[in-house]
């Protein structure tokens, strides 16, 4: 089974994100970037499938600027076989990415597309679902366990009420949740080997996709700073404050 893993380059999870002074977005220049943690989990799952003999080839794809190549290299160092960069300097929104991925899927013909359930930059949680709709493939989101048996996947999903186990027919799009696995550290020999693995580059035009944004950002602002708390003397005072100051009851 050939597995395609879609990954995204985002601001590193440890970085304190700053809003640009003009409110047009967040500051990304000279900010440490890394692979989206959920994407790392998807890559890890694909590599484990390959190690278990379930996957025959693991191809990683990223849509974005030239420097997304570094993120693809990270996935190659974890054990993916080759990479594809769909290069675009334009802002890419979930629908555009889903369309680009559809184009890659049609070229590559994988049986399974693995991706993170969402990216920690915008927390959209849309791309996997959109891709499955565009391809008219089965989908299994928020996966915490994936097992394959002849032509089908059994996927355990993390849902609000607990865990749900579903069967999906292949081909399918599966999005990874936090507890699917714990991604490995790339080993030094694999980092060195990753340098020699191929990365193909293509553009949105090559895939016949118009990636222009359909949503426009009105304004980005910092969340309000936390106000200091206050102690109340009695229950009566608390109720009074909730009623008249906070106006929640």
């Amino acid at each position: 089974m050939k597995v395609l893993v879609a990954i995204k380059r985002v601001i590193d999870a440890y970085v304190k994100v700053r809003v640009k002074s003009d409110g047009s977005g967040v500051e990304t220049q000279n900010v440490k970037m890394s692979m989206n943690p959920f994407c790392e989990i998807a890559v890890e799952e694909a590599v484990r499938m390959k190690e278990a003999g379930i996957a025959s080839e693991v191809v990683v794809v990223s849509c974005g600027q030239q420097n997304s190549q570094e993120t693809i290299r990270t996935a190659l160092a974890m054990g993916a076989d080759r990479g594809i960069l769909v290069q675009s300097d334009a802002e890419l929104q979930p629908l555009a990415i889903a369309k680009l991925l559809k184009g890659v899927v049609e070229k590559e013909q994988p049986e399974l597309v693995l991706m993170g359930k969402q990216a920690v930059d915008n927390d959209f949680n849309q791309t996997g679902q959109m891709l499955s709709a565009l391809l008219d493939w089965s989908q299994a989101t928020f996966a915490s366990k994936i097992e394959k048996s002849d032509g089908k996947l059994t996927v355990t999903r993390e849902i609000d009420g607990g865990l749900e186990t579903i069967e999906v027919a292949l081909p399918a799009v599966v999005t990874a949740d936090l507890r699917l696995n714990e991604p490995r550290y790339a080993s030094l020999p694999n980092i060195m080997k990753a340098k020699k693995k191929p990365i193909d580059t293509m553009s949105a035009e090559d895939l016949g996709v118009d990636p222009s944004p359909r949503l426009s950002v009105v304004k980005v602002s910092e969340p309000p700073a936390r106000q200091g708390g206050a102690k109340v003397g009695s229950v009566a005072e608390l109720v009074e404050k909730l009623k008249n100051e906070a106006k929640v009851i």
């Binding site: 440890y14 000279n30 440490k32 570094e70 290299r73 990270t74 160092a77 550290y185 790339a186 080993s187 030094l188 020999p189 694999n190 980092i191 060195m192 990753a194 340098k195």
Partner: protein, 598 residues
Amino acid sequence: MSDYRAPIDEMRFVLQEIAGLADIATLPGYEEATPDLVDAILEEAGKLAAEELAPLNQPGDIAGSQLENGVVRTPDGFAAAYRHYVDGGWNALPFDKDHGGQGLPWSLAVAVQEMWNAANMSFALCPLLNQGAVELLQAHGSPEQKERYLAKMISGQWSGTMNLTEPQAGSDVGAARTRAEPDGDRWRIRGQKIYITYGEHDMSENVIHMVLARTPDAPVGTKGLSLFLVPKLLPDAEGNPAERNDLRCVSLEHKLGIKASPTCVMSFGDSEGAIGFLIGEENRGMEYMFTMMNNARLSVGIQGVAIAERAYQQALSYARDRLQGREMGSRDPDSVPIIRHPDVRRMLMTMRAQTEAARALAYFTTASLDRAKADPDPEVRRHQSVDVLELLTPVVKAWCTDIGCEVASIGIQIHGGMGFIEETGAAQHYRDARITPIYEGTNGIQALDLIARKIMRHEGKPALRLLEEVRATQAKVGQAKGAAFSALRRGLDEAADAFEQATGWLMETFPERPQEAAAGATPYLRLTGTLAGGWLLARGALAAAEQIDDPDSDTAFLEAKIATARFYADSILPEAVAAAAAAIRGSASTLALEEDAL
């Protein structure tokens, strides 16, 4: 306890701009060390250090290694972390490719080594000692010995140790009494060795001891010491660890710091005699030891840098969080984070500038090791070896470890009373750092090595070459614009003049009054380090000023490099002048008071 994040931007900058890694990557054998690979390696090693090793640092200090019935148990998590480290192939990074090494430059290896040590120095000592054992074997082992041991030691599956010290033989190794008697084609070793780092432990499958011992009728002193390879478990015909050798750990030392690292008293040959294999020729053990000592000294210098970095990160984070007192000159009644107080800022800048200077010198010196090894031009190899590597190795060892202790001490000061309390973890860095000026040749011995072997034996030429290099940079600093460069110009002028005078004093005094020269050796080394650190920070500032106009550059980072160099020039370089005075004027007065009157 604080987090540790590897300072990757800073490491990359020092590697590229000061150590010249791009040039090194053009030398035969090092072609793989391209900037993108270096970045990927630093990133991934940084993750392992931050996420696996750093969290074990404080628990390891509290639990310590424990000895029970001859078995040493390292603190919880150490063995698993070591497995990750070995499985990740990290141990093989700098070693030659013949037996599974990756053959990457040492200059890259030290940056990675800094991460292990900053994250967890007690842990990092195991690979550090193994590194020395591997180098000994690579340089002097027989083909059969290399075949049998090297691959497993390079991977880290087996770890190596250094057995030099005995109770009566510390700095004077020549007083060692451990005996070796021939027994067919091997030897029987009997004696006791102390201070054996990771002499026994549960992280690796086997422990390979490198032991200095005396064969029958060997001459007295260091010239009668031979080097033996003594495995804890003797390999069978297939090379797998099998029969237990006659050696054991009889006790663990109780120490001020590095408590998770087991410091063993090793007893060899309590019954039939431990089986050992002679490395190279008889009576040349000490000479062989020197082939790995230079590297080991650089590695200990890196520990100084590493602890300084960790202490700085911890103090900085505390200074940003701790609210105390009002801002000077402000009417605002609210408490401010202590980082707003000028004296706290002074301490943080001192920590930062000293750490960056020490890192610059350590990486720069290690780069000369790569150049001395791989440059095709024999004259370049000789120059790099004698004028840079040999000259600066004792400076890196002593000056960087002194800085490690000083910076860790300031780190406690910034924490105030909380720094004196163990829970914050600031005190651990200070306790861990304190061994580094002692082991691998005390800093006093490094100072003697610097003046005698590295300068006087070459008629002062390496010191003068260093001065020439400094003066060449001064000329460029003179043309650069801005307050930072005028500060650097002044600071470097004064420090370089002081170094020139002190070197003149050394050349005059050493032949006639060697005792006096020796009394001034430590301040002279301090002077050399302070000047060299300032010189390299100036080179970094020049490179930063050149890059800053590039729209893609990280302006904030580059501005900080320049500002830090300026602080160093204003507040630390003047110490070079004082150190020169202490060497020149203080050497006679050091010895003026009679021994009995002390």
